[in-house]
Symmetry: C2
Subunit: 187 residues, 2 copies
């Protein structure tokens, strides 16, 4: 695939540029825990990461991965819907990551839905500090995926430019629906 | 505008990652010479840059800018149409930059046209080494600009994915038509 950064790779590069030791970050869809592990590394021993997933299996996988890296102590893993973020994640946040679609290796019937994704994004924006960054990696290949990408994009396009800066990063000549990235900075 | 890299800034960051001392690069629309100067810095004293513009004023501005930085010796500046690139730029190239639209401060009636841009892109791809990178910064705010963006995008979307990887990088919630970037890597 060459030297240009894939969507997931670029999201981590940019989130990693923003996060400093002692910061607070959220993995809004922890899935197999890889983004949570990345965030836990970024915020260091004085930082805190919140990792959320609606599926029990995702929470267990994430806890296992963190424990195997000795990083469980800096992460709060919660089996909750990210729609209810404000009930259990206190401000401030410096960064948040979303990975839409279904859990790899899990139940493909359990997917993120645009309504709840948009609701969770609104909640995250209210927790974010100025200069804070949110990444949304979205997939259009599974049933409902393209509609979700379009609804999320429409919502993000409508954000007032004085409040947020929204970057869309995607490869446009690939046949197999590669993931695409939205990066939102709170101004 | 925050911490996320603007289109032009990101194009230079990625071109700068690819170019090494001794490489050969092309500024296909040298305009005021700023990209040419950037490329001349990247390729070092052993490298070579070709800078092309159809307008006399652009060529003069570019030569002046290079001279003021003592870098004229590593750049060939040519007042030609980039449609005829193959007549005066020999292979190989490691990178090329396009900046579409009109010359800032110049005649706004003289703009790049999609047919000649696509022809120049085809020529550049034939000169590029594998791993080489082409940036196209495109503007949709001037008359004909949006049509040019769409034609260039359609051409790039049609490139076979085994031969090139095409990234589209743009801000989607800005009112004032910010420039958008296409980055093409030859595989």
């Amino acid at each position: 695939m060459g030297n240009l950064m894939r969507a997931l790779e670029f999201s981590r590069a940019e989130i990693g540029r923003v996060l400093k030791g002692g910061d607070r970050a959220l993995d809004a869809t922890c899935g197999n825990g890889k983004d949570t592990l990345f965030l836990a590394g970024c915020v260091g021993p004085e930082g805190r990461v919140f990792a959320v997933d609606i599926q029990k299996r995702a929470v267990e996988e994430t806890e296992k991965l963190l424990a195997s890296h000795g990083l469980a102590g800096r992460v709060t893993v919660l089996q909750r819907s990210h729609e209810e973020l404000l009930d259990f994640v206190p401000p401030p946040l410096q960064a948040a990551m979303f990975n839409l679609g279904y859990l790899p290796g899990g139940d493909h019937g359990v997917v993120t839905r645009p309504e709840s994704t948009v609701k969770a994004l609104e909640a995250v924006f209210s927790l974010l500090v100025p200069g804070g960054l949110v990444s949304v990696v979205a997939y259009s290949g599974h049933p409902g995926g393209q509609a979700e990408v379009e609804e999320v994009q429409e919502y993000l396009e409508g954000l007032e430019q004085g409040g947020h800066s929204v970057l869309h990063y995607r490869f446009i000549n690939q046949a197999n629906h590669p993931p695409q990235l939205f990066l939102i900075e709170k101004l």
